[in-house]
């Protein structure tokens, strides 16, 4: 009796620790401790669960050790640039765990009444089991597709085919219909087949809804899948009537939804447009004709401009991650500071492949977080900046979003680098960005193109400074 009481109290304490952990994430200098607080909450929840009467530990230890080992090794080894795909991967694992919990609960119920009339499963429990399986399955297979796209194991381009919405819609309806059958007739033994088909269909559904989403829209997909993994845990909590699962799952569910909304707003698109739009698959939708000629510049000439600049803002994008250029960028930033310039790093909310991706990379390169500024903070003062250096970013600095009503990205908030006195764009070639949209920035009067690999170009600039 006392034991159950203590376990219940521990769950409440664990929930409080999760809440405090998330609360501490709101400031950079307390965030790391916040994460630790949250981890202690998790440890407490696990210990409390293990102290239930009649638990046997053999299999549990095996599972904990295998999972712990794989989790720890992968977490220590993953490079910072691969963070988006690994968050996706872990997320998928959480989803499949919820699916398995739902399945195991159903099997235990089915097994215990084998050979006799099944005791009717409560309708509420039935709904919860089915939701845990459905959301868990979608989270798992969706996250695996996202992982594959981000790790470039499969093409990052949206995969579209004729009748896509019809196929996805049909699977969705089938999953829902099976769910209704499952909840209404839980006492039939054949209903196990419905559960198994439901598992398969939910996995298929996860793949179907993720493949049409392009690489640059992955931040939204990852946020949404993050939310699903929380809701799946929530459903699993309803299955076993466990409040700590419900509280923790809801917190994650809410977090994912908020991030999804922030990302969509930053692209001026609706969630539906991101999920079903297949943005970027239709390359070559040009709105304006001849844009003029881009003016290339050499590292030596760029050096002279930078040498005399008193304020410089770097605008990084996914290209910086690809080129692994964050360390040389920081080196150049420090040299410019020593040279008397004020240096900032302006970060667009959807730059990179997950929310806050650029912040993590620059933090890895030891850029102090005070120098990282958000889009809304840099835009009002961008006219006063002598030089803006765009590194591997394209759509998030495309002035067409502001000026060209026919552009597919019209209305998307951008960093107005074209208003800085001089703009350097570091780019491999004149190829258009992910969305296949021409960028008028490259042809502006104050823009100079520094062609080549971003890392090599910046190294060349650093070398120029060091020579003198």
């Amino acid at each position: 009796m006392y034991r159950e009481y203590l376990i219940g109290l521990s769950y409440i304490a664990a929930s409080i620790l999760f809440i405090f952990g998330l609360k501490m994430l709101s400031s950079p200098h307390r965030a790391r401790r916040g994460n630790l607080v949250s981890a202690v909450g998790m440890l407490l929840a696990v210990i409390a669960t293990l102290s239930y009467q009649g638990m046997s530990f053999g299999w549990i230890l095996a599972g904990l050790m295998i999972g712990g080992l794989f989790g720890a090794i992968s977490a220590v080894k993953v490079p910072m640039t691969s963070m988006p795909e690994f968050v996706g991967l872990y997320n998928g694992f959480g989803g499949i765990a919820s699916l398995l919990v739902g399945w195991a609960e159903y099997h235990a119920f089915w097994h215990d009444s084998w050979g006799q009339e099944l005791v009717p499963l409560g309708r509420f429990t039935g709904v919860s089991i089915y939701l845990a399986i459905l959301i868990g399955g979608v989270t798992f297979s969706g996250s695996m597709v996202a992982f594959g796209k981000l790790a470039e194991m499969i093409s990052g381009r949206p995969i579209l085919y004729k009748g896509q919405h019809i196929v996805s819609g049909f699977v969705l309806v089938a999953v829902a219909a099976l769910g209704v059958v499952f909840v209404l007739f839980p006492h039939l033994h054949v209903i196990y087949a419905v559960v198994l088909v439901g598992i398969v269909l939910s996995l298929i559904l996860g793949v179907l809804v993720t493949i049409p989403i392009g690489g640059a829209d992955m931040p939204v997909a990852i946020c949404l899948l993050n939310s699903y993994s929380g809701l799946a845990a929530c459903a699993a909590g309803f299955v076993i009537s466990n409040t700590v699962l419900i509280v923790a799952g809801s917190l994650v569910g809410a977090s994912g939804i908020i991030l999804t909304i922030i990302m969509c707003k930053a692209m001026n698109r609706s969630i539906a447009n991101v999920l079903f739009g297949g943005f970027g698959a239709t390359a070559g939708v040009q709105s304006s004709g001849v844009l003029g000629e881009a003016k290339p510049i050499t590292a030596a000439d760029a050096y002279f401009v930078l040498e005399g600049a008193s304020s410089v803002v770097f605008v990084p994008g996914y290209g910086m991650a690809v080129a692994q250029a964050q360390h040389v960028v920081r080196e150049l930033g420090e040299i410019l500071e020593k040279n008397g310039a004020e240096v900032k790093y302006a970060i667009h909310p959807v730059a990179g492949r997950m929310p806050g991706h650029m912040n993590v990379l620059l933090a890895e390169a030891n850029v102090p977080y005070e120098q990282l500024v958000e889009m809304d903070a840099i835009n009002p003062i961008i006219e006063t900046m002598d030089v803006a250096i765009v590194i591997g970013a394209n759509d998030v600095v495309n002035p067409a979003a502001r000026e060209d009503e026919k552009s597919p990205i019209y209305g998307m908030p951008i960093i107005n680098v074209d208003k800085a006195r001089t703009v350097f764009v570091l780019k491999r070639s004149m190829a258009s960005g992910f969305a296949g949209i021409e960028n008028p920035l490259f042809f502006k009067e104050n823009t100079r193109m520094l062609f080549g690999d971003a890392k090599v170009s910046i190294q060349a600039l650093v070398a120029q400074f060091k020579e003198t």
Partner: protein
């Protein structure tokens, strides 16, 4: 506001599903917890600055590994025969990857967020 209406709708549906069963009051309590936690989540997360969004995602992702509690119960209580044990062990293993990997990776990221060292500019 729309969130509140949606949540109320969901709650009404769930409670209606459980109506007439002996677990009704428990159901209402669980749904109540769920709704309040969602609102709390919105309040907490909207205060996180955008520069911490990646660690927020991986940290909250680790919290979603809480489903490990369900996995442990499925495995350890030894009911439902070997199939449940097998499903449970796999669930424990993958949930542990989610929890351990998620927290460690978040810690690694947050350790890199440093303030300006001593001197400071101007």
């Amino acid at each position: 506001m729309s969130t509140a209406i949606i949540l109320l709708g969901i709650s009404a549906g769930v409670v209606a599903a459980a109506a007439g069963t002996s677990t009704l009051s428990l159901t209402i309590l669980l749904v109540f917890t769920f709704v309040l936690a969602i609102f709390l989540g919105f309040e907490l997360i909207s205060k996180v600055p955008s520069q911490l969004h990646t660690p927020l995602m991986s940290g909250s992702n680790a919290i979603s590994g809480i489903t490990i509690v369900g996995s442990l119960l499925a495995t350890g209580l030894e009911r439902g025969g070997p199939v449940v044990t097998v499903l449970g062990v796999i669930a424990v293993a993958v949930a542990t990857v989610n929890v351990v990997g998620g927290y460690l990776v978040t810690d690694r990221m947050l350790a890199m967020f440093k303030s300006k060292p001593g001197k400071g500019k101007q």
